[in-house]
């Protein structure tokens, strides 16, 4: 009986020690700071399209290395709401531009950050003039979707950014219709 009690005692001590170890080690915490994204800037303005971008910080505020396995941007402008433009969007790692829209998996060391550019291309659909099309523009929400992993199994989550109609109008120099 004493042996059994001893064994149970050892198991309890080991479990407590493991839990304390895990608590001390912590995990990666990826803070995607969409609330603090930079102001949108115009990358390219043509007769029928405009491309704008903003930079978002992905900060690892945790105590372990984290991995961004994938990242992409989902634009959310249904034609039921506004069918005057076509929207395409992508995520691009700062300092590693790619033309293929591929997002290469990247590590974020503890207490470090990476920056991701959200690029949005808006093309006129019913006219050849993007400025004319944007007169009736509405607010454009985009979701920044990312897959990440660290000490917990991988997960996918998303954060939202809104490109305001007033902002895009100001960037291309048009006045919105009332």
């Amino acid at each position: 009986m004493e042996f059994l009690y001893g064994l149970i005692g050892i198991v309890i001590v080991v479990v407590i020690l493991v839990k304390l170890f895990l608590l001390r080690e912590g995990d990666a915490i990826i803070d995607v700071r969409t609330d603090a994204h930079t102001a949108f800037v115009v990358d390219e303005l043509t007769k029928d399209s405009v491309t704008v971008s903003t930079k978002v910080e992905f900060a690892n505020i945790g105590t372990q290395c984290g991995t961004i396995m994938d990242c992409y941007v989902r634009s959310l402008l249904p034609y039921e709401q506004f069918d005057g433009v076509k929207v395409e969007a992508k995520a691009e790692l700062d300092g590693a531009p790619r033309e293929d829209d591929y997002f290469e998996a990247v590590l974020i060391q503890r207490k470090e950050s990476i920056n991701v550019w959200v690029k949005i291309k808006i093309t006129a659909r019913k006219t050849a003039d993007i400025k004319e099309a944007l007169i009736d523009m509405v607010d454009l929400p985009v979701d920044l979707v990312y897959q990440y992993a660290a000490r917990k199994p991988w997960a996918i989550t998303k954060k939202r950014i809104v490109l305001k109609a007033e902002d895009i109008a100001k960037l291309v120099g048009v006045i919105l219709a009332k």
């Binding site: 991995t67 998996a105 917990k152």
Partner: protein
């Protein structure tokens, strides 16, 4: 005496649809001589053998989630999917036992015990980000039958020898497979500066010219 020379050979991206022997012959066949050693990157050999798995395709156990916490966060087994991929190949209980043994050995100051008893894949698995796109989103196992692969390479190319090497930018250089008569340690030393390049540089083949004379 002929000069020793290390020549990286660029290729297109290789996939599981490629045969590594055919590919090496295609890209390096005309450049290699009878005194040379052909060296192929370990992860690329594994990719051509289809030894890859997506984290999304694994069923991650609670044991894997727990055990990965005991691996330093820069290791390929530090993630639940990395650890699970090892368990799927080497067995859950073997890996668990090896980790406990490794922990106890570390307490008395002995390193490397986990990798000794955890199965050969323990040191060979590359987690996501470990290799070039599109395989940066995959876990890449070590190659299967490396000795057979290097023997076939040597026979096909008619060179002095062939090796499969696991080299990275952190000055780690290890020979996974080597033909008879080639000093693997000397090859590993020559490859220490990683002439294969990093993830996005497509140079999975390296020719070591005149290695026979260098080895003596």
């Amino acid at each position: 005496m002929a000069n020793l020379e290390i020549i990286p050979v660029p290729t297109r991206i290789l996939t599981d649809k490629d045969d590594i022997i055919d590919i090496v012959e295609k890209y390096a066949g005309t450049k290699i001589g009878k005194n040379d050693v052909i060296s192929v990157a370990e992860s690329v050999v594994a990719i051509t053998q289809g030894r890859i798995v997506r984290p999304e395709d694994l069923t991650i156990s609670r044991v894997a989630q727990l055990l990965c916490r005991f691996i330093p966060d820069y290791g390929s087994l530090a993630s639940p999917h990395g650890m699970q991929s090892l368990m799927d190949i080497e067995g859950k209980w073997r890996v668990t036992f090896a980790l406990i043994l490794g922990f106890l050995a570390k307490v008395i100051g002995k390193n490397g015990v986990f990798y000794k008893f955890g199965g050969e894949q323990a040191a060979l698995i590359d987690d996501v980000t470990g290799t070039m796109p599109p395989f940066d989103k995959y876990i890449v196992y070590g190659p299967k039958d490396p000795q057979t692969v290097v023997k076939k390479l040597q026979e096909r190319l008619g060179c002095f020898g062939a090796v499969i090497a696991d080299v990275n930018d952190l000055k780690r250089s290890r020979i996974v497979g080597v033909t008879d008569g080639v000093d693997g340690d000397k090859v590993a030393h020559l490859l220490i500066d990683n002439p294969f390049g990093n993830a996005s540089q497509k140079t999975p083949i390296v020719i070591i010219k005149n290695f026979k004379q260098y080895q003596g």
